[in-house]
């Protein structure tokens, strides 16, 4: 087997036995392994430790695995993520893949297969690291709607008030809305994916943020066209397709 060097791997799995068994095997393979037992601490560890690969379970306490995946994908589209789940039906796999997972293994899995897939994913990252931003991505670099033009790469936007600089959180939230254009998002979902919090956190945070986005991008922030509220649901982002020029 080809050695891809010492890599940091984060395992997000709530079953201690499985998590430790995975850690044991990956450590024996020569990797540095860390375990998070729920979604919230998983996201925190992903931020602080910058792993090269995440092994993710779906049924997790607090924030579920798919929300963790979507949250990570808002900021990092390339980090290899492998889902390891008891849910193995084609629908579940497709769901995972549409949210941008790289590989999907159903439990119970074969250890050798798991290790080979992990090595393969790690190897692919080290090759991709050399090329630059030309590969297809989930998000375009720039995005336009109405008279607004957002540069997601440079975190700037041209809107009715002129050019503004967006904070990291604003970019993240915009990406979430863009990825779910035309689909309603509940406040809870937004909080989970956009901030990595569970339901205990006050959903007013979301409202305040949307108010800010409206101030930037709506012609009349009190009569929103793009970031609309849905009664007792949450928010929906939509716009007409820009005229092709």
């Amino acid at each position: 087997m080809q050695d891809s060097g010492k890599k940091r791997i984060l395992i997000i799995e709530d079953d201690t036995h499985i998590a430790e068994g995975l850690k044991l095997n990956l450590s024996l393979q020569g990797h540095e392994v860390d375990i998070a037992f729920d979604g919230v601490s998983g996201l925190q560890k992903w931020k602080t430790q910058q792993p090269h690969l995440i092994v993710l379970d779906i049924m997790l306490p607090g924030i579920d695995g798919l929300s963790v995946l979507r949250s990570v994908r808002l900021e990092d589209e390339r980090l290899p993520i492998l889902i390891l789940s008891a849910k193995g039906s084609p629908e579940d796999r497709v769901k995972g893949l549409t949210y941008g997972v790289d590989d999907y293994l159903a439990k119970p899995f074969n250890l050798e297969e798991f290790l080979l897939r992990v090595e393969r994913l790690l190897a692919r990252v080290s090759w991709a690291g050399e090329t630059d931003d030309n590969d297809p991505a989930l998000f375009p670099r720039t995005y336009s709607f109405g008279s607004n033009r957002i540069d997601l790469g440079a975190s700037t936007a041209d809107c009715r008030t002129g050019r503004i600089t967006l904070t990291e959180q604003e970019v993240k939230l915009l990406k979430l809305f863009i990825a779910n254009r035309g689909k309603p998002l509940s406040r809870k979902q937004i909080l989970k994916i956009g901030w990595g919090y569970t339901g205990i956190m006050n959903t007013r945070t979301v409202d305040n943020f949307v108010v800010r986005l409206r101030k930037y991008f709506e012609d009349d922030p009190h009569q929103p066209v793009y970031f609309r509220s849905l009664r007792s649901m949450g928010y929906i982002f939509d716009h007409e397709d820009p005229a092709t020029s």
Partner: protein
Amino acid sequence: MITRLKWFFHPVFIFVFSILALALSLFLYIYWYIEVSTGLKAAVHRYNLDPQQILEAQTWVVILVLSILVGLILAGIFIIFVYSQKMARLNRLQHEFINNFTHELKTPVTSLKLYLETFLKHELPRMEQAKYIGYMLQDVERLADNISHILNLARIETKTFGGDFLPADLVETLRQFYQNNRHLFRGCDIQIHSPSGNPFFYNINAPLFEMLVMNILNNAVKYNDSEKPKVDIYFMNKNAKLHIRFEDNGIGIEKADAKKIFRKFYQTKRPDGFSPKGSGLGLYLVQNIARMHRGKVIAEKRRNEKGSVFTLILPLHPKHA
């Protein structure tokens, strides 16, 4: 994805629609009947017949009979409606149960397979081996628990559970049970209090009764985030009934869930960390066993402290229990 039912096929719509149709038809029956009978009255009048004989009494009888019949039909529709809603709910729960239960079965199997393959692949030092073999044993235990839950469920539901109901002192039975299963509750503080000091005799089926106690204690420890899980068991006499209270210092129980948790397949959904990790059968079994002993179990939140209380209430008529 399941295609969603058209709104006019929805059972609630059909139910409301048929009730409206029935009410309208009742109204029309009566309306037309009265119309016809006034016509008749006019005819009687014209031909100078004796009105008393043909009319008066009949009108009300007809209306009464019609109303009763329609009422019966309405009641029938209502019962069928409730029944079908119940079936639908049970179906959904069963589906959820299968999903959850496969997860419950697959997790220990995954862990077992993982460690066995690891042992095949690597030569581990004895100390580590022992630790992982310990894990595997726990997983086997978990699997065995899940399997026995399913089997017990089948036996209790079909009432084919063997064994007799024999008188036993419940305080002593509980003490014995705790002594025999101490290893399962390591690190927990379980106390049995019987203030009167008297024995409480009751006719029990020992294996079933132990299953009941085991499930309540297991839950008290499983749904517990305190540093040291603690369960106090109190024996009390109240209104000619024996109350056995199991008070724990766990995560407690929401008022809305207090009744529902005894439903088959029901699992609480909590916004914080504690996601359901069970079969959804434990408390259903508990309630069924309590009923087989002519008693019942109620759950509530502890009033001033953290935790929940499960009370087993048994009628104190030991002679024919």
